[in-house]
Subunit: 255 residues, 2 copies
Protein backbone atom coordinates (compact mmCIF):
# COMPACT_ATOMS: atom_id res chain seq x y z
CA UNK A 1 0.00 0.00 0.00
CA UNK A 2 1.40 3.35 -0.99
CA UNK A 3 1.74 5.71 1.92
CA UNK A 4 0.22 8.58 0.01
CA UNK A 5 -2.80 6.77 -1.43
CA UNK A 6 -3.93 5.11 1.77
CA UNK A 7 -7.59 5.00 2.63
CA UNK A 8 -7.90 7.31 5.62
CA UNK A 9 -10.67 7.24 8.17
CA UNK A 10 -11.45 9.55 11.06
CA UNK A 11 -12.50 7.70 14.20
CA UNK A 12 -13.50 8.84 17.68
CA UNK A 13 -11.64 6.15 19.61
CA UNK A 14 -8.18 6.60 21.14
CA UNK A 15 -5.46 5.20 18.88
CA UNK A 16 -2.54 3.16 20.17
CA UNK A 17 -0.56 0.18 18.94
CA UNK A 18 -2.31 -3.16 19.41
CA UNK A 19 -5.73 -1.66 20.01
CA UNK A 20 -8.76 -3.05 18.22
CA UNK A 21 -11.81 -1.03 17.31
CA UNK A 22 -15.06 -1.48 15.47
CA UNK A 23 -16.57 0.70 12.75
CA UNK A 24 -20.15 1.79 12.47
CA UNK A 25 -22.39 0.23 9.84
CA UNK A 26 -21.97 3.01 7.29
CA UNK A 27 -18.19 2.99 7.29
CA UNK A 28 -18.03 -0.79 7.34
CA UNK A 29 -20.23 -0.76 4.25
CA UNK A 30 -17.93 1.81 2.68
CA UNK A 31 -14.84 -0.36 3.18
CA UNK A 32 -16.53 -3.58 2.06
CA UNK A 33 -18.86 -2.55 -0.74
CA UNK A 34 -17.45 0.70 -2.10
CA UNK A 35 -13.69 0.23 -1.70
CA UNK A 36 -14.06 -3.60 -1.85
CA UNK A 37 -11.39 -4.10 0.78
CA UNK A 38 -10.86 -7.54 2.30
CA UNK A 39 -9.68 -8.87 5.65
CA UNK A 40 -5.97 -8.10 5.95
CA UNK A 41 -6.12 -4.86 3.96
CA UNK A 42 -4.46 -1.87 5.60
CA UNK A 43 -5.60 1.72 5.97
CA UNK A 44 -4.84 4.81 8.00
CA UNK A 45 -6.77 6.15 11.00
CA UNK A 46 -6.71 9.50 12.78
CA UNK A 47 -8.79 10.97 15.58
CA UNK A 48 -7.50 14.55 15.89
CA UNK A 49 -5.51 13.72 19.05
CA UNK A 50 -3.17 10.77 18.59
CA UNK A 51 -1.69 11.37 15.16
CA UNK A 52 -2.16 9.02 12.21
CA UNK A 53 -1.94 5.25 12.57
CA UNK A 54 -1.63 2.30 10.26
CA UNK A 55 -4.40 -0.23 10.85
CA UNK A 56 -5.41 -3.60 9.42
CA UNK A 57 -8.85 -5.00 8.78
CA UNK A 58 -9.25 -7.93 11.17
CA UNK A 59 -12.78 -8.83 10.23
CA UNK A 60 -15.36 -7.47 7.85
CA UNK A 61 -19.00 -8.49 7.35
CA UNK A 62 -22.29 -7.07 6.36
CA UNK A 63 -22.55 -3.89 8.42
CA UNK A 64 -19.56 -4.46 10.67
CA UNK A 65 -15.77 -4.21 10.57
CA UNK A 66 -13.07 -4.62 13.16
CA UNK A 67 -9.65 -3.07 12.85
CA UNK A 68 -6.35 -3.66 14.58
CA UNK A 69 -4.20 -0.59 15.10
CA UNK A 70 -0.59 -1.24 14.06
CA UNK A 71 2.11 1.46 14.21
CA UNK A 72 1.99 5.26 14.18
CA UNK A 73 2.53 6.86 10.78
CA UNK A 74 2.69 10.49 11.95
CA UNK A 75 2.54 12.12 15.37
CA UNK A 76 -0.16 14.67 16.05
CA UNK A 77 1.11 18.16 15.15
CA UNK A 78 -0.08 21.66 15.89
CA UNK A 79 -2.31 23.14 13.19
CA UNK A 80 -3.27 26.75 12.47
CA UNK A 81 -5.99 28.13 14.72
CA UNK A 82 -8.20 29.63 12.02
CA UNK A 83 -11.97 29.85 12.34
CA UNK A 84 -14.35 30.38 9.47
CA UNK A 85 -17.38 32.45 10.47
CA UNK A 86 -19.90 32.26 7.62
CA UNK A 87 -23.43 33.29 6.80
CA UNK A 88 -25.43 30.26 5.62
CA UNK A 89 -25.84 30.22 1.83
CA UNK A 90 -27.67 27.86 -0.50
CA UNK A 91 -26.97 24.19 -0.11
CA UNK A 92 -24.69 23.38 -3.06
CA UNK A 93 -22.48 26.41 -2.45
CA UNK A 94 -22.45 25.83 1.28
CA UNK A 95 -21.36 22.21 0.87
CA UNK A 96 -18.65 23.31 -1.50
CA UNK A 97 -17.48 26.11 0.79
CA UNK A 98 -17.15 23.91 3.88
CA UNK A 99 -15.29 21.26 1.90
CA UNK A 100 -12.84 23.91 0.70
CA UNK A 101 -12.57 25.44 4.18
CA UNK A 102 -11.52 22.04 5.51
CA UNK A 103 -8.97 21.54 2.73
CA UNK A 104 -7.65 25.03 3.42
CA UNK A 105 -7.12 24.23 7.07
CA UNK A 106 -9.95 25.96 8.92
CA UNK A 107 -10.07 24.67 12.49
CA UNK A 108 -13.67 25.60 13.34
CA UNK A 109 -16.74 26.48 11.27
CA UNK A 110 -19.31 28.82 12.79
CA UNK A 111 -22.59 29.32 10.86
CA UNK A 112 -23.72 32.84 11.66
CA UNK A 113 -26.95 34.61 10.73
CA UNK A 114 -26.63 38.17 9.47
CA UNK A 115 -29.31 40.69 8.50
CA UNK A 116 -29.20 39.79 4.80
CA UNK A 117 -28.98 36.03 5.33
CA UNK A 118 -31.95 34.46 3.55
CA UNK A 119 -31.22 30.83 4.36
CA UNK A 120 -33.04 29.97 7.55
CA UNK A 121 -31.85 26.49 8.39
CA UNK A 122 -28.42 24.92 8.63
CA UNK A 123 -27.99 21.16 8.70
CA UNK A 124 -25.03 20.99 11.06
CA UNK A 125 -24.85 17.20 10.85
CA UNK A 126 -24.57 17.28 7.07
CA UNK A 127 -21.84 19.92 7.23
CA UNK A 128 -19.99 17.86 9.86
CA UNK A 129 -20.14 14.77 7.63
CA UNK A 130 -18.86 16.82 4.69
CA UNK A 131 -15.89 18.22 6.58
CA UNK A 132 -15.03 14.80 7.98
CA UNK A 133 -14.89 13.40 4.46
CA UNK A 134 -12.83 16.36 3.26
CA UNK A 135 -10.42 15.93 6.18
CA UNK A 136 -9.95 12.24 5.35
CA UNK A 137 -9.33 13.15 1.72
CA UNK A 138 -6.87 16.01 2.23
CA UNK A 139 -4.74 14.14 4.78
CA UNK A 140 -5.05 16.61 7.62
CA UNK A 141 -4.82 15.22 11.15
CA UNK A 142 -7.96 16.85 12.51
CA UNK A 143 -11.57 17.46 11.55
CA UNK A 144 -12.78 21.04 11.95
CA UNK A 145 -15.53 21.45 14.52
CA UNK A 146 -18.88 22.63 13.12
CA UNK A 147 -20.73 24.74 15.68
CA UNK A 148 -24.44 25.27 16.13
CA UNK A 149 -25.60 28.43 14.31
CA UNK A 150 -25.36 31.76 16.11
CA UNK A 151 -25.97 35.32 14.99
CA UNK A 152 -23.41 37.94 14.17
CA UNK A 153 -24.27 40.38 16.92
CA UNK A 154 -24.13 37.74 19.63
CA UNK A 155 -20.93 36.28 18.21
CA UNK A 156 -19.15 39.64 18.15
CA UNK A 157 -20.29 40.43 21.69
CA UNK A 158 -18.62 37.34 23.06
CA UNK A 159 -15.64 37.50 20.67
CA UNK A 160 -12.31 36.57 22.31
CA UNK A 161 -10.23 39.76 22.32
CA UNK A 162 -6.99 38.10 21.23
CA UNK A 163 -8.46 36.53 18.08
CA UNK A 164 -8.11 38.62 14.91
CA UNK A 165 -10.90 38.71 12.33
CA UNK A 166 -10.17 39.01 8.61
CA UNK A 167 -13.05 40.51 6.61
CA UNK A 168 -13.30 40.98 2.84
CA UNK A 169 -14.52 44.53 2.15
CA UNK A 170 -16.02 45.58 -1.19
CA UNK A 171 -16.35 49.18 -0.04
CA UNK A 172 -14.17 51.73 1.69
CA UNK A 173 -10.44 52.10 1.82
CA UNK A 174 -9.48 48.56 2.74
CA UNK A 175 -5.87 47.62 2.01
CA UNK A 176 -5.27 44.90 -0.59
CA UNK A 177 -5.11 41.49 1.07
CA UNK A 178 -1.48 40.95 0.02
CA UNK A 179 -0.35 44.19 1.63
CA UNK A 180 -2.43 43.72 4.75
CA UNK A 181 -1.11 40.22 5.37
CA UNK A 182 2.48 41.16 4.54
CA UNK A 183 2.18 43.94 7.11
CA UNK A 184 1.39 41.31 9.73
CA UNK A 185 5.02 40.36 9.38
CA UNK A 186 6.40 36.99 10.25
CA UNK A 187 4.25 33.90 10.35
CA UNK A 188 2.33 34.21 13.54
CA UNK A 189 2.44 30.55 14.49
CA UNK A 190 0.15 30.41 17.48
CA UNK A 191 -1.76 33.63 16.80
CA UNK A 192 -5.48 32.85 16.49
CA UNK A 193 -7.41 34.33 13.58
CA UNK A 194 -10.80 33.99 11.96
CA UNK A 195 -12.18 34.73 8.51
CA UNK A 196 -15.64 36.26 8.16
CA UNK A 197 -17.73 35.47 5.06
CA UNK A 198 -21.01 37.33 4.59
CA UNK A 199 -24.21 36.24 2.84
CA UNK A 200 -24.71 36.62 -0.93
CA UNK A 201 -26.36 40.01 -0.34
CA UNK A 202 -23.39 41.27 1.64
CA UNK A 203 -23.49 42.80 5.09
CA UNK A 204 -26.03 45.40 6.17
CA UNK A 205 -24.59 48.90 6.57
CA UNK A 206 -25.09 48.71 10.33
CA UNK A 207 -23.13 45.46 10.43
CA UNK A 208 -20.29 47.00 8.44
CA UNK A 209 -20.27 49.98 10.80
CA UNK A 210 -20.10 47.72 13.81
CA UNK A 211 -17.33 45.59 12.28
CA UNK A 212 -15.33 48.69 11.36
CA UNK A 213 -15.21 49.78 15.01
CA UNK A 214 -13.89 46.54 16.41
CA UNK A 215 -10.18 46.55 17.25
CA UNK A 216 -9.66 42.91 16.22
CA UNK A 217 -11.08 43.37 12.68
CA UNK A 218 -8.80 43.68 9.63
CA UNK A 219 -10.74 44.61 6.48
CA UNK A 220 -9.02 43.75 3.21
CA UNK A 221 -9.68 44.17 -0.50
CA UNK A 222 -9.82 41.20 -2.86
CA UNK A 223 -9.47 42.99 -6.19
CA UNK A 224 -11.88 44.68 -8.60
CA UNK A 225 -14.28 41.80 -9.17
CA UNK A 226 -17.23 41.33 -6.85
CA UNK A 227 -16.78 37.86 -5.41
CA UNK A 228 -19.58 35.56 -4.38
CA UNK A 229 -19.76 34.76 -0.68
CA UNK A 230 -18.19 31.33 -1.09
CA UNK A 231 -15.42 32.62 -3.34
CA UNK A 232 -14.53 35.38 -0.89
CA UNK A 233 -14.35 32.90 1.98
CA UNK A 234 -12.09 30.57 -0.01
CA UNK A 235 -9.87 33.46 -1.17
CA UNK A 236 -9.42 34.79 2.38
CA UNK A 237 -8.59 31.35 3.78
CA UNK A 238 -6.15 30.74 0.92
CA UNK A 239 -4.32 34.02 1.41
CA UNK A 240 -4.18 33.70 5.18
CA UNK A 241 -2.68 30.21 4.98
CA UNK A 242 -0.21 31.25 2.27
CA UNK A 243 1.05 34.28 4.18
CA UNK A 244 0.44 33.70 7.89
CA UNK A 245 -0.47 30.02 8.15
CA UNK A 246 1.20 26.75 7.24
CA UNK A 247 1.69 27.52 3.56
CA UNK A 248 5.40 26.86 3.98
CA UNK A 249 4.85 23.23 4.98
CA UNK A 250 4.74 20.27 2.57
CA UNK A 251 2.29 17.38 2.30
CA UNK A 252 3.32 14.22 4.20
CA UNK A 253 4.94 11.17 2.62
CA UNK A 254 5.90 12.88 -0.66
CA UNK A 255 9.43 12.54 -1.91
Amino acid sequence: MSASTATRLYVDEPLAAGQTLGLDQQRAHFLRSVLRLKRGAELALFNGRDGEWQARIDGLGKGWASLEVLEQRRPQAAEPDLWLVFAPIKRARLDFMVEKACELGASRLIPTYTRHTDVSRVNVERLAANVREAAEQCERLSVPAVEEPTDLKALLQRWPAERRLLVGAERGGAAPVAEALAAEGERAGAAPWAVLAGPEGGFHASELDALGKLPFVTAVGLGPRVLRADTAAIALLTCWQAWLGDGDQRPPFRA
Copy 2:
Protein backbone atom coordinates in the same frame (compact mmCIF):
# COMPACT_ATOMS: atom_id res chain seq x y z
CA MET B 1 -31.47 51.72 -9.87
CA SER B 2 -28.43 51.36 -7.68
CA ALA B 3 -25.22 51.39 -9.66
CA SER B 4 -23.86 48.40 -7.85
CA THR B 5 -26.93 46.17 -8.07
CA ALA B 6 -27.62 46.67 -11.77
CA THR B 7 -28.63 43.75 -13.89
CA ARG B 8 -25.66 43.21 -16.17
CA LEU B 9 -25.74 41.42 -19.48
CA TYR B 10 -22.95 40.42 -21.82
CA VAL B 11 -23.79 41.03 -25.50
CA ASP B 12 -21.88 40.47 -28.73
CA GLU B 13 -22.91 43.70 -30.43
CA PRO B 14 -20.84 46.89 -30.49
CA LEU B 15 -21.95 49.33 -27.79
CA ALA B 16 -22.31 53.08 -28.41
CA ALA B 17 -24.70 55.79 -27.29
CA GLY B 18 -28.04 55.77 -29.10
CA GLN B 19 -27.65 52.29 -30.52
CA THR B 20 -30.48 49.82 -30.29
CA LEU B 21 -30.07 46.08 -30.07
CA GLY B 22 -32.17 42.99 -29.68
CA LEU B 23 -31.73 40.13 -27.25
CA ASP B 24 -32.05 36.44 -28.02
CA GLN B 25 -35.08 34.54 -26.80
CA GLN B 26 -33.43 33.12 -23.71
CA ARG B 27 -32.24 36.44 -22.38
CA ALA B 28 -35.45 38.21 -23.25
CA HIS B 29 -37.24 35.54 -21.22
CA PHE B 30 -34.78 36.09 -18.38
CA LEU B 31 -35.51 39.83 -18.25
CA ARG B 32 -39.27 39.47 -18.59
CA SER B 33 -40.13 36.34 -16.65
CA VAL B 34 -37.31 35.87 -14.16
CA LEU B 35 -36.33 39.45 -13.28
CA ARG B 36 -39.85 40.72 -14.18
CA LEU B 37 -38.48 43.89 -15.70
CA LYS B 38 -40.77 46.19 -17.70
CA ARG B 39 -40.35 48.56 -20.61
CA GLY B 40 -38.32 51.53 -19.39
CA ALA B 41 -36.27 49.56 -16.87
CA GLU B 42 -32.52 50.12 -17.07
CA LEU B 43 -29.66 47.69 -16.98
CA ALA B 44 -25.97 47.50 -17.82
CA LEU B 45 -24.38 45.96 -20.91
CA PHE B 46 -20.79 44.99 -21.72
CA ASN B 47 -19.19 43.20 -24.64
CA GLY B 48 -15.55 42.86 -23.64
CA ARG B 49 -14.47 45.68 -25.96
CA ASP B 50 -16.43 48.91 -25.42
CA GLY B 51 -16.65 49.15 -21.65
CA GLU B 52 -19.89 49.05 -19.68
CA TRP B 53 -23.00 50.93 -20.83
CA GLN B 54 -26.28 51.91 -19.30
CA ALA B 55 -29.21 50.73 -21.42
CA ARG B 56 -33.00 50.93 -21.27
CA ILE B 57 -35.58 48.36 -22.23
CA ASP B 58 -37.42 49.83 -25.22
CA GLY B 59 -39.69 46.92 -25.88
CA LEU B 60 -40.23 43.50 -24.31
CA GLY B 61 -42.48 40.69 -25.40
CA LYS B 62 -42.70 36.93 -25.33
CA GLY B 63 -39.27 35.83 -26.55
CA TRP B 64 -37.96 39.21 -27.66
CA ALA B 65 -36.54 42.38 -26.15
CA SER B 66 -35.09 45.53 -27.64
CA LEU B 67 -32.70 47.78 -25.75
CA GLU B 68 -31.52 51.33 -26.28
CA VAL B 69 -27.93 52.04 -25.27
CA LEU B 70 -27.68 55.22 -23.19
CA GLU B 71 -24.38 56.44 -21.74
CA GLN B 72 -21.13 54.71 -20.87
CA ARG B 73 -20.77 53.72 -17.24
CA ARG B 74 -17.12 52.57 -17.38
CA PRO B 75 -14.52 52.55 -20.14
CA GLN B 76 -12.93 49.26 -21.14
CA ALA B 77 -9.80 48.67 -19.07
CA ALA B 78 -6.87 46.33 -19.33
CA GLU B 79 -7.27 43.12 -17.35
CA PRO B 80 -4.69 40.58 -16.20
CA ASP B 81 -3.59 38.14 -18.89
CA LEU B 82 -3.97 34.94 -16.88
CA TRP B 83 -4.92 31.62 -18.45
CA LEU B 84 -6.28 28.65 -16.58
CA VAL B 85 -5.13 25.36 -18.08
CA PHE B 86 -7.14 22.59 -16.44
CA ALA B 87 -7.70 18.86 -16.72
CA PRO B 88 -11.43 18.14 -17.05
CA ILE B 89 -12.94 16.91 -13.79
CA LYS B 90 -16.43 15.77 -12.87
CA ARG B 91 -19.28 18.04 -13.84
CA ALA B 92 -20.28 19.68 -10.55
CA ARG B 93 -16.69 20.45 -9.60
CA LEU B 94 -15.85 21.61 -13.10
CA ASP B 95 -18.79 24.02 -13.19
CA PHE B 96 -17.77 25.37 -9.82
CA MET B 97 -14.13 25.72 -10.82
CA VAL B 98 -14.84 27.65 -14.02
CA GLU B 99 -17.24 29.98 -12.19
CA LYS B 100 -14.54 30.70 -9.61
CA ALA B 101 -11.88 31.09 -12.30
CA CYS B 102 -14.03 33.77 -13.94
CA GLU B 103 -14.59 35.56 -10.63
CA LEU B 104 -10.87 35.39 -9.97
CA GLY B 105 -10.09 37.04 -13.28
CA ALA B 106 -8.88 34.26 -15.55
CA SER B 107 -8.77 35.53 -19.13
CA ARG B 108 -8.85 32.19 -20.95
CA LEU B 109 -9.84 28.65 -19.98
CA ILE B 110 -8.11 25.75 -21.70
CA PRO B 111 -9.45 22.23 -21.03
CA THR B 112 -6.46 19.94 -21.31
CA TYR B 113 -6.33 16.14 -21.20
CA THR B 114 -3.55 14.62 -19.13
CA ARG B 115 -2.58 10.98 -18.63
CA HIS B 116 -4.65 10.59 -15.45
CA THR B 117 -7.67 12.52 -16.72
CA ASP B 118 -10.66 10.16 -16.52
CA VAL B 119 -13.30 12.55 -17.85
CA SER B 120 -13.52 12.04 -21.59
CA ARG B 121 -15.88 14.78 -22.73
CA VAL B 122 -16.02 18.51 -22.09
CA ASN B 123 -19.14 20.50 -22.88
CA VAL B 124 -17.47 23.72 -24.00
CA GLU B 125 -20.79 25.44 -24.62
CA ARG B 126 -21.98 24.76 -21.10
CA LEU B 127 -18.70 26.06 -19.67
CA ALA B 128 -18.96 29.16 -21.86
CA ALA B 129 -22.49 29.82 -20.60
CA ASN B 130 -21.31 29.39 -17.01
CA VAL B 131 -18.44 31.82 -17.34
CA ARG B 132 -20.65 34.36 -19.09
CA GLU B 133 -23.08 34.27 -16.18
CA ALA B 134 -20.23 34.52 -13.68
CA ALA B 135 -18.76 37.49 -15.57
CA GLU B 136 -22.12 39.27 -15.50
CA GLN B 137 -22.41 38.58 -11.80
CA CYS B 138 -18.90 39.61 -10.70
CA GLU B 139 -18.93 42.88 -12.68
CA ARG B 140 -15.87 42.22 -14.79
CA LEU B 141 -15.75 43.84 -18.25
CA SER B 142 -14.89 40.71 -20.21
CA VAL B 143 -15.89 37.09 -20.48
CA PRO B 144 -13.04 34.59 -20.45
CA ALA B 145 -12.68 32.60 -23.66
CA VAL B 146 -13.25 28.86 -23.31
CA GLU B 147 -11.13 26.93 -25.79
CA GLU B 148 -11.74 23.57 -27.39
CA PRO B 149 -10.01 20.77 -25.43
CA THR B 150 -6.39 20.00 -26.19
CA ASP B 151 -3.87 17.70 -24.55
CA LEU B 152 -1.01 18.60 -22.29
CA LYS B 153 1.82 17.43 -24.51
CA ALA B 154 0.52 19.35 -27.54
CA LEU B 155 -0.20 22.43 -25.45
CA LEU B 156 3.30 22.52 -23.99
CA GLN B 157 4.87 22.01 -27.41
CA ARG B 158 3.21 25.13 -28.76
CA TRP B 159 3.50 27.09 -25.49
CA PRO B 160 4.39 30.77 -26.03
CA ALA B 161 7.86 31.23 -24.55
CA GLU B 162 7.10 34.52 -22.80
CA ARG B 163 4.13 33.15 -20.83
CA ARG B 164 4.94 31.84 -17.36
CA LEU B 165 3.17 28.77 -15.99
CA LEU B 166 2.34 28.41 -12.29
CA VAL B 167 1.98 24.79 -11.16
CA GLY B 168 1.00 23.50 -7.72
CA ALA B 169 3.42 20.74 -6.71
CA GLU B 170 2.67 18.20 -3.98
CA ARG B 171 6.10 16.65 -4.30
CA GLY B 172 9.67 17.83 -4.50
CA GLY B 173 11.28 20.97 -3.19
CA ALA B 174 8.85 23.56 -4.53
CA ALA B 175 8.97 26.94 -2.79
CA PRO B 176 5.87 28.02 -0.85
CA VAL B 177 3.53 30.01 -3.09
CA ALA B 178 3.89 33.16 -0.99
CA GLU B 179 7.67 33.13 -1.28
CA ALA B 180 7.67 32.26 -4.97
CA LEU B 181 5.27 35.06 -5.87
CA ALA B 182 6.99 37.58 -3.61
CA ALA B 183 10.24 36.76 -5.40
CA GLU B 184 8.60 37.79 -8.66
CA GLY B 185 8.86 41.28 -7.24
CA GLU B 186 6.69 44.13 -8.34
CA ARG B 187 3.30 43.59 -9.90
CA ALA B 188 4.05 42.52 -13.41
CA GLY B 189 1.17 44.36 -15.04
CA ALA B 190 1.35 43.15 -18.59
CA ALA B 191 3.33 39.97 -17.96
CA PRO B 192 1.33 36.98 -19.19
CA TRP B 193 0.94 33.98 -16.92
CA ALA B 194 -1.06 30.78 -16.74
CA VAL B 195 -2.10 28.47 -13.93
CA LEU B 196 -2.04 24.72 -14.47
CA ALA B 197 -4.52 22.50 -12.60
CA GLY B 198 -4.16 18.74 -12.91
CA PRO B 199 -6.79 16.00 -12.71
CA GLU B 200 -7.95 14.52 -9.40
CA GLY B 201 -5.35 11.77 -9.73
CA GLY B 202 -2.54 14.30 -10.17
CA PHE B 203 -0.02 14.34 -12.96
CA HIS B 204 1.80 11.28 -14.25
CA ALA B 205 5.48 11.11 -13.28
CA SER B 206 6.48 11.64 -16.91
CA GLU B 207 4.32 14.77 -17.05
CA LEU B 208 5.90 16.12 -13.87
CA ASP B 209 9.34 15.42 -15.28
CA ALA B 210 8.51 17.25 -18.49
CA LEU B 211 7.03 20.20 -16.62
CA GLY B 212 10.06 20.42 -14.36
CA LYS B 213 12.36 20.88 -17.35
CA LEU B 214 10.45 23.76 -18.93
CA PRO B 215 12.00 27.19 -18.37
CA PHE B 216 8.63 28.95 -18.08
CA VAL B 217 7.30 26.70 -15.29
CA THR B 218 7.24 27.85 -11.66
CA ALA B 219 6.29 25.03 -9.29
CA VAL B 220 4.97 26.14 -5.90
CA GLY B 221 3.80 24.51 -2.69
CA LEU B 222 0.32 25.10 -1.27
CA GLY B 223 0.81 23.88 2.27
CA PRO B 224 0.63 20.49 3.98
CA ARG B 225 -2.89 19.49 2.98
CA VAL B 226 -3.45 17.65 -0.29
CA LEU B 227 -5.84 19.87 -2.22
CA ARG B 228 -8.41 18.65 -4.69
CA ALA B 229 -7.86 19.70 -8.30
CA ASP B 230 -10.49 22.45 -8.16
CA THR B 231 -9.23 23.78 -4.84
CA ALA B 232 -5.65 23.94 -6.10
CA ALA B 233 -6.74 25.85 -9.20
CA ILE B 234 -8.72 28.35 -7.14
CA ALA B 235 -5.87 28.77 -4.64
CA LEU B 236 -3.30 29.42 -7.38
CA LEU B 237 -5.53 31.95 -9.16
CA THR B 238 -6.27 33.67 -5.84
CA CYS B 239 -2.62 33.97 -4.86
CA TRP B 240 -1.52 35.12 -8.31
CA GLN B 241 -4.13 37.88 -8.41
CA ALA B 242 -3.36 38.95 -4.84
CA TRP B 243 0.37 39.19 -5.42
CA LEU B 244 0.97 39.78 -9.11
CA GLY B 245 -2.43 40.63 -10.53
CA ASP B 246 -5.06 43.27 -9.88
CA GLY B 247 -5.53 42.51 -6.19
CA ASP B 248 -4.72 46.14 -5.40
CA GLN B 249 -7.74 47.43 -7.36
CA ARG B 250 -11.20 48.03 -5.89
CA PRO B 251 -14.64 47.06 -7.19
CA PRO B 252 -16.40 49.74 -9.28
CA PHE B 253 -19.09 52.09 -7.98
CA ARG B 254 -18.42 51.43 -4.28
CA ALA B 255 -17.94 54.36 -1.94
